[in-house]
Amino acid sequence: MNPADALPVAHDLSLWGLFLSASPVVKAVMLGLLAASIWCWAIIIDKTLMFRRAKADMDRFEGVFWSGQSLDELYRSLQDKPGNGLPAIFVAAMREWKRSFEGSGRQIASLSQRIDKVLDVTIQREVERLDSRLVFLASIGSAGPYIGLFGTVWGIMTAFTSIAASKNTSLAVVAPGIAEALFATAIGLFAAIPAVLAYNKLQSQVGKAQSRLEGFADEFSAILSRQIDERVALAA
């Protein structure tokens, strides 16, 4: 390909013109970054909504939990649709509790440890669910500018080749190539900046939710272990 052909004679500096006159590599970079930006925003919107819902659910469940309702009743009402967050933790622990008292023998010797394990696993699963897809935001936040920069460097290389071919260094020859090259970096930053900001925000929200889950699990495990001890004393 003659590099001089890469730059059209009449330069269109509109965004669409810049995109069309870019070389295939730069085009691919731009399209990829645009797709990444769309996906980033999808994650941001989904996660924001999810955290808002999760917070509301936790508030509601804690209200019900501390309202003095009997745990068995609560378990029965939640058993079929454990959902996410605190209800899931509650249901998992209660199920383990019930199982231990069902059947032939009462396996309450290490019930407290088992409940702790179950709680841990459930918390782990919940945090994983909250945390999922945030890695993508982090990746785009850190790699987006580099990808854009790659497109820019490539575009500027093409621009310089065309300058050498046309043997003309006037601004009209240099500027369009550089503009279209910089456009790639602009898209990279456009994708990366919201990704970084949202990642930090969402990550802190994950941390908050996790500590809240753990706090609830500890409290609940304390209640259950007290019950176990009472029953052991009764049995003895």
Binding site: H11, L13, S14, L15, W16, L34, S37, I38, W39, C40, W41, A42, I43, I44, I45, D46, K47, L49, M50, R53, S170, L171, A172, V173, A175, P176
Partner: protein, 428 residues
Amino acid sequence: MRIPFNRSEPGTWVSAGLHGALLAAAIVGFSSSKLPNADEGIPVEILTDNQFSEMTKGERQAAKVLPNAKPRADRVADTRQERDPGEAKLDAPAPPKRPAEVKIAEAETEAASAPPPPRPEPPKPDPKIEAAKAAAAKAAAAEARASAARAAEAKAAEAQKVAEQQEAEALEKARVEAAKAKAQAEARAKAEAEHRKELAEAKAKAEADAKARALAKAKADEEAKDELEAKMKALADAERRKEIADAKAKAEAEAKSKALAQAKAKADAEAKARRQAEAADKFSPGDIRALLASKEASQSSGATGREVQRTASLGTAAGTAQRLNPSQRDQLVGLLSEQLHRCWQVPIAAQSADRPPVPTVRVKLNQDGTLAGEPVVTNMSGDQLFRSVADSATRATRRCAPLKIPSQFQPFYADWRDLLVNFDPRAV
């Protein structure tokens, strides 16, 4: 791949929609920014002040500055002519294809041949206006005479004529006619009742517009009943209508004549332009001869001077600077430093010092040897003696001004206008 819309996770769709909207806005918003046309810069040669004053006489294309800066001289002659090498050119502009006076003459003949546009045009004898006027006059006469039958006949004939002449303004005219007929009808009614009927018939014959005629008839009938009041009223009415019709006809005639004059002027201008273009295309040997005569014949372009100088010195035609040769330079330096040192009171401490500091003073001079600016010490030293020695050096420079520059060095002002002088206490 189809992404299902999940109500609890609408992010993908919302994000895609937002990006689409943003892109569309950006594409529309940044659509029409065009680069300005690239203008090449004017080639500029940057010279320092010194370089400018050191421009020697010579030619720009020469290889180097010769010691005796002289332009090229190919032949010996009493008068000195400096010419650039190459073919001589006479910078006479090419004569116009057609001399200016020819153009003027043509324009004049055209103006003479073309009849001047009748600007204050007298109202043309327009048949329509004439007809209207004649009709009005006739109507008046009929009224005065009160011979209704004759008038009616004349009226009918007139109306017919008018109807034939103007088909476009048939309605207008018809109205005028109706008005006139009405007026006559009144007159006739006053005179005789029978005549009214005849008139109505004549009217019917004359009118192109059936409606107008019916109106007039009806009115005439009414007027027959109450003659006097209706007559007065109708008279005034007829007068007014006639006036309006006249004014309208006049305005139309004027507009038409104006349009005609414009069309004519345009046609004239076009014809003139065509004639000029033809004249410009015409082959004229005179033009060619004039063009040839404006160019100087090819000739030897050698420069002349007092003596032949084959190689030109580098420089410009207007440059006047000369260069000092080394011995002259030594002489000048010696003269200047001798003058300066004579004025210099070396501080005692510096006189006895083993290695005294040597300040360097920058002295800027005018052509007559006076100081062009304050002398400035250009170097620095940590020696505690330096300050006093430097101060004494600048004082000495000030005291010595104006320096005496022998006249043979005057042409080399560029060499000594800016001096750096070392004041070495040991040299005194």
